[in-house]
């Protein structure tokens, strides 16, 4: 059974082939890591998956539904949550309000003109923030958070939409090692207990090898390897890419 199946995805910017013929599937409850050096096309893949940019070719199916070319809001309403490499939150709202608004959007309660937002989905928002250790910051403005906290807020906002598939672009950038481990453990928990499928990119290889069920390696837009941690570690092509680019911990 698959929740996401991608076939023959392509995208080029001007002359640059950012993504060439990428195909893969994700099953419910699975954590799939997408790795590759800087500029490999990871973010471009994510942007096509959530409708931010339209692929030149290829199809994206969510379950049986073809979501290729749908705008981001329609993709979101089909149960796809995402976090961005460059975080995007609502700076003029508190942390809690960010999450409350995400709940309201998910439950289609946006068009209420009179009942103040303050009292709506407050408990739900606090529960979610507590799981992410963000409750002490609930009343702070999102615009002044530290980078790691912003990443966690984005995750909370994405989870408030009760997604079936979660796309996380570099979710632990800007976090201390202990925080990284805690965040990925939480993601693991969610995947196992709720069947949430998670596709993520990450440049910390310890995190990748420690949490992913399966790993896809992208280089210059093309998939060069796929498999579990052991297989990827042993893969010659992958070693060549990473050693060739002068690093053993991977790109960004």
């Amino acid at each position: 059974m698959t929740i996401l199946s991608v076939a023959g995805l392509r995208k080029s910017f001007g002359g640059v082939q950012a993504v060439t013929d990428v195909s893969f599937t994700v099953a419910p409850g699975e954590m799939l890591a997408l790795i590759g050096p800087n500029g490999a096309g990871k973010s471009t893949c994510f942007n096509m998956l959530n409708g931010q940019i339209r692929p030149d070719a290829g199809t994206i199916h969510l379950g049986p539904l073809d979501i290729t070319g749908l705008p981001p809001r329609r993709v979101a309403r089909q149960g796809v949550g995402r976090t961005f490499q460059i975080t995007a939150t609502f700076a003029s709202m508190t942390v809690r309000e960010n999450v409350q608004l995400a709940f309201l959007a998910h439950h289609r309660r946006i068009w209420h003109l009179l009942r103040p937002l303050a009292a709506q989905y407050r408990a739900e928002a606090d529960t979610l923030l507590d799981r992410l250790d963000m409750l002490p910051q609930a009343d702070r403005a999102a615009g002044i958070l530290a980078y790691g906290d912003l990443k966690r807020l984005e995750l909370a906002v994405a989870l408030a939409g009760q997604p079936r598939l979660l796309l996380m672009d570099e979710p632990t950038a800007g976090m201390a090692p202990a925080e990284r481990v805690a965040l990925m453990r939480l993601a693991r928990d969610l995947a196992t207990t709720t069947g949430l499928a998670i596709l993520f990119t990450e440049h910390d290889m310890d995190v990748v090898f420690g949490t992913a069920d399966r790993i896809l390696v992208l280089n210059r837009g093309a998939l060069i390897a796929a498999g579990d941690a052991a297989a990827i570690r042993a893969n010659h092509a992958v070693r060549a890419v990473y050693l060739g680019s002068g690093t053993t911990t991977g790109g960004h």
Binding site: R73, E97, L101, A102, L104, L117, Q120, A141, G143, V157
Partner: protein
């Protein structure tokens, strides 16, 4: 067939001087990223200076050419002066303040021109050669039209050579494409900007002078031409010269045919074309995408509910306002009534401009439509005041929804320009539809029924409606819809990623704001007893902007404080001086220079310096 040809030639000749002005505007924008409202003032000055120069020279064609060139040079020098003295200081200010700043210059130039040349239109006595005709396909075509038609492509070619064949031109193109890169190359940016500004101003002045033989030097040129030039630049694509050329041909020809075929609908037609172009190509015919996405470049301050102290203060002020008729005389009461109307007008503009992030330069359109709807209900349909006050927000909201459908897809400068252009079109449409609106004479005798004829009763009614509507808008801002609106401003990317339909949300906000402004307009009609086209003047739109900016865009109580402060100041100003334009213009210029981050923004910074630093 030949009548068609003549019309086409007339259109093309009109397009030429429009192109000169628009080319200047678009070149200046491309390099400095300032939308220069005062560009129209330079055109107007070009017309007046041209008049002064040409009437002193002999009548021969060679002297005419010399006079035009001289005028262009003087305008260029004025432009360089303007840039070095004033505009240079605001390159880093927010777009909206830049627009406001250059509008301050417009006001000052208007009073200066009035003072220098007097209030009368100054037609150019036409030399015989300017009146001669050429026979084409059996039709008499004015020679001067043909000359103008040739000038457009000639200037385009000259500019093209200048931009492609000279080092200076290469720098200008590089700066248009990437400002930071030029700064990094170590080019003397100041000189580049000044010379570009001089070029643009020279083109504007030349355009103004060249239009003289067909028209006259008058005080309406500045705002008339700037609206047309904005439309041309937006349709052609900001910063694109060939785009401006194409668009001015399109608009020029459209206008000349429109005047023959559908004189009432010409302006509407121009607008429809503009809207169609922008829907298909949001960056204009030949324009490029703006580099920063909406919202991503700004840091917005946190919005918190008012502190209890402020609430109590507001309540006290409201009680005081409710008791005012018991002590105030009729004059003060009418001032207070206007203040309340201004308050609702400002609150409605703030609604879309602050939380919605859509700064409108044509908010007076909805005010005016509301006022005319109310007046028409009473005088044309013989309905009562109640129906008038119901129709005012309804019709204004409807018009806002219709127009907003195009507007809310745009942002920043495009949005400001499009709203401005639309307000001008509504103004002209009301001006032209004499049978319904009385044209320049307006609609008179729009009085409240006997039960509300007493100034005090009408004041209470206004107080009730304005405060209730302003509070309703405020309540909406604290409801999920208000947050969703703010979300689309803070980060459109994130808003869409949680499933919000940004365009629909903005459109709803635009409509609500339009309806509220319409109610303010309806009340104003009954308060004044009449409506005139100047209900939709640009200066009323700018009044609204000033009120909101004075009070602070980010604070929800801001527009209310701003409206009260501004109407108070303005009434004093009107009582104290005839040169209110110059004084107001100078006040705007000074305010922007003193607070380049906006008044509220500057105070906010001071406040933060004391706390989180």
């Amino acid at each position: 067939m030949s009548a068609l040809l003549v019309q086409l030639l007339t259109g093309l000749s009109g397009a030429s001087s429009l192109f000169l002005v628009a080319a200047g505007l678009t070149v200046i924008f491309g390099v400095t990223r300032v939308v220069n409202f005062s560009h129209g003032s330079l055109t107007m000055l070009g017309a007046y200076i041209g008049w002064s120069v040409l009437t002193r020279l002999p009548r021969g064609p060679e002297w005419f050419i010399l006079g035009i060139v001289l005028t262009a040079l003087i305008a260029a020098a004025l432009g360089a002066l303007l840039e070095t003295l004033l505009l240079r200081r605001i390159y880093r200010a927010p777009e909206l303040l830049q627009l406001l700043f250059t509008f301050g210059i417009v006001l000052v130039v208007q009073d200066a021109t009035l003072w220098l040349w007097g209030p009368n239109d100054l037609p150019l006595p036409r030399a015989p050669w300017l009146r001669s005709f050429v026979s084409i396909a059996g039709e008499r075509v004015p020679l001067y039209d043909l000359i103008l038609i040739a000038i457009g492509p000639l200037v385009l070619a000259a500019l093209w050579l200048l931009f492609t064949r000279t080092r200076w031109g290469t720098l200008v193109r590089a700066a248009t494409e990437d400002r930071d890169m030029v700064a990094a190359l170590g080019v003397d940016q100041k000189r580049l900007f000044t010379t570009v500004f001089a070029l643009g101003a020279g083109l504007a002045g030349m355009g103004g002078a060249l239009a003289l033989p067909d028209a006259s030097a008058n005080l309406q040129i500045d705002l008339n031409i700037i609206t047309d030039a904005f439309v041309v630049v937006v349709v052609g694509g900001l910063g694109s010269l060939p785009g401006a050329f194409l668009a001015s041909l399109l608009i020029g020809v459209l206008q000349s045919f429109g005047i023959v075929l559908l004189p009432q609908a010409t302006l509407v037609l121009v607008f429809v074309i503009m809207a169609a172009v922008l829907v298909i190509r949001p960056n204009g015919l030949l324009g490029r995408a703006q580099s920063t996405a909406r919202g991503e470049a700004h840091a917005f301050a946190l919005v918190r509910p008012a502190a209890p102290v402020l609430r109590r203060l507001g309540l006290a002020a409201l009680l005081l306002a409710a008791c005012a008729p018991l002590i105030a005389g009729p004059f003060l009461l009418s001032v207070l009534t206007e203040m309340l109307i201004a308050l609702l007008f400002a609150a409605s503009l703030h609604f879309m401009m602050g939380p919605g992030g859509m700064a409108s330069f044509g908010h007076a359109a909805w005010f005016g439509i509301g006022a005319y709807a109310a007046a028409f209900a009473v005088k044309g349909l013989a309905l009562g005041m109640g129906a008038g006050l119901l129709l005012a927000p309804l019709i204004a909201g409807l018009a806002a929804a219709l127009f907003g459908w195009f507007v809310v897809r745009l942002s920043g400068v495009y949005l400001a320009m499009l709203t401005l252009a639309f307000a001008q079109i509504v103004w002209a449409a009301l001006f032209q539809a004499v049978e319904i609106t009385g044209g320049d004479n307006g609609i008179l005798g729009v009085w409240p029924p006997p039960w509300a004829a007493d100034r005090r009763v009408f004041y209470w009614l206004t107080l009730l409606l304005c405060i209730a509507s302003a509070l309703l808008l405020r309540r909406i801002l604290y409801a999920p819809f208000g947050y969703a609106l703010r979300a689309t401003r803070d980060s459109e990317r994130r808003a869409e990623a949680i499933g919000l339909h940004a365009v629909h949300i903005r459109l709803a906000a635009f409509t609500l704001a339009g309806a509220a402004a319409g109610l303010a307009g309806g009340l104003s009609a009954f308060s004044k007893g009449s409506v005139f086209p100047n209900f939709i003047s640009i200066s009323r739109s700018v009044d609204g902007l000033l009120m909101v900016l004075l009070g602070g865009v980010q604070s929800i109580a801001g527009p209310i404080v701003g409206a009260i402060a501004y109407t108070g100041l303005f009434d004093l100003l009107l009582l104290a001086t005839d040169q209110w334009r110059a004084v107001l213009g100078l006040a705007i210029i000074t305010l922007v220079l003193a607070f380049p981050h906006g008044i509220a923004g500057s105070i906010h910074r001071l406040w933060l310096r004391g706390r989180e630093a």
